[in-house]
Amino acid sequence: MSSPYKSLPGHSFWRRAIESVPPPLVNPAVCAPFSLSPSDAVMTAGSCFAQYIGAMLQATNFNYLVTEPAHPIFQPGQVKAYNYGVFSARYGNVYTARQLRQLLERAYGRFTPRENIWAEADGSFLDPFRPQIQPGGFLSRREFELDRQQHFAAVRRAFESLDVLVFTLGLTEAWVASEDGAVFTICPGTSGGVFDPAKHEFHNFTVSEVVADMCAFIDALRTVNPRAKLILTVSPVPLVATARADTHVLTATTYSKSVLRVAAEMLTQSRPNVAYFPAYEIIMSRAFDAGTYFAADKRNVVRPGVAHVMRVFAEVFTGITASAPPPAPAPVPKPAGDGAYMRKMEELMQVHCDEVALDPG
């Protein structure tokens, strides 16, 4: 007796793909519609989980695209707090599809939100669309304005030079400016700004809205970069809080992740060269055994989980199996004016000051 299931591969069957596979070896990424070469420039954006992906891409010698790098006069330990290198440019977390779409529109001057700057009581200024981009905010309005121009130029360079964008869909819940629909990164009043119920409203995006926003984004991206490919992931990190008072945070999380997962699937069908990578499923697969890829707070993903995700990512997109990292890309020229120059200046300044002090002439 035949059935359509008879000819299906092993990964189609729970027993063979999950039950009998050691949890760290679960690989739900069956195939990819395109592959990544070591020289492909990879840009990342998205929610907190996308930071892990960006860090792992850098650590494993993918050609991680950074168009807004820290200046070499700074120390490596200083720049992360200023969000250099966390993503390809300093846009911070981009939680929703609408935010990503608006990031592109703002960078190209097609959309300028009315509520465009937050003046804080301490005299600093915050960017409503990346309020935590640097500790203490911007120290003057002019610094804020010039930095945003520079940032938008870096965003444009990223969009125009990427080969692949890895975007992690994080949330459906968002706070929106009533006046023009600008989506804030986080609710005004939580990390800057002042919440005003007359100006700020809650919105929970639906599947069709997410798909529409992503399609609009992809189409706009391909007008400036026709070769751009996308890899979509869904963040497994649960909501830290829901704004829906009548809904449990777990239920709200399930809704949000479900919408995003469905939207991602639909997008792979509606646009070419858009892949879905099952990072969400890899992390959640540990729910089926005694282990977990979540930290003690039951939200953040622990390093072995990220490593599992990236091992599968490398395997499906580069064809590299086992734990070997992908091959190194062509070396990226290091910016001139590095530590050797500073060391020389330190030495010369010491000699200069000693000479003046000890032999004033």
């Binding site: 200046h71 070499p72 006069i73 700074f74 120390q75 200083q78 720049v79 200023y82 640097q134 500790p135 203490g136 911007f138 120290l139 003057s140 309005r141 002019r142 610094e143 010039l146 930095d147 520079q150 910016p335 001139a336 004016g337 120059y341 500073m342 020389k344 200046m345 330190e346 010369l348 300044m349 000699v351 200069h352 000051c353 000693d354 000479e355 003046v356 002090a357 000890l358 004033p360 002439g361």
Partner: protein, 264 residues
Amino acid sequence: MTRIFVAGNSHITALVSSYKAAPPGVEMEFALLNEQQFQPVMQGDASDATLAERVRKARERRGLPRGEGGDASNPTLAFAARVLEAQADLHVSMVGGNDHSILVMLNHSRPFEVVLPEAPDLHVDPEAELLPAGLVSIELERRIAPHLKTLAEYRALVSGRLVHIESPPPVPSEAHIRKYPGVFRSMIEERGVSPALLRYKFWRLHSRLYREACARLGVEFLSVPEKMCDGAGMMIEAAWNPDPTHGNALYGGAVIAQLLREAA
């Protein structure tokens, strides 16, 4: 007789040069921390209650007269001895003062700019990379940290007034710096002198950190004498030392006059 004790690094030289022509009734003593006997500067613990006793005993043991140094084998004690023996009416710090120049004296291969928080309307080169002023301050703070430690130790050594003198403003003239490049000659030829306004902004950020540290430590901060600054806030030509960053005897004289007013 007004007794002033000044401890610091190379900017002290302007005062030393001027002191030769100081008015009567002023006695100044200088401890130049660039000297080997003080290196490394104040890495000990000046707040240690036994330090003065240790210094006294060390001096007695070595039979040193007052004011001629402490234990040469211990830089902390050497400095502490000079400070404790000084019996000054006013203690003065000129520690550090040139760390901003390391970052900004010459053109960088990746040109940068900054918006000065207290003067945001100053020109900003649109072609240069804008650096966050807060991050620049973090890097400057890292660089001046050893000097601030020395200042804190100095504060712990003296119970009376301690004044820190702001380092001189930049020399605005590239021609002057090229004429007197000192050890930077080849680097200047290779990179060129950075714009005066950029050097000015970094100097102001640097001074702000010292001013804040002084407030924390209970040290009075003495700004550059106004008459030593031109309309743009940079050093007047008559005060330039024949080198890229220091003030001359005229500059030192203006600072001494300011100190005398403070000590009065």
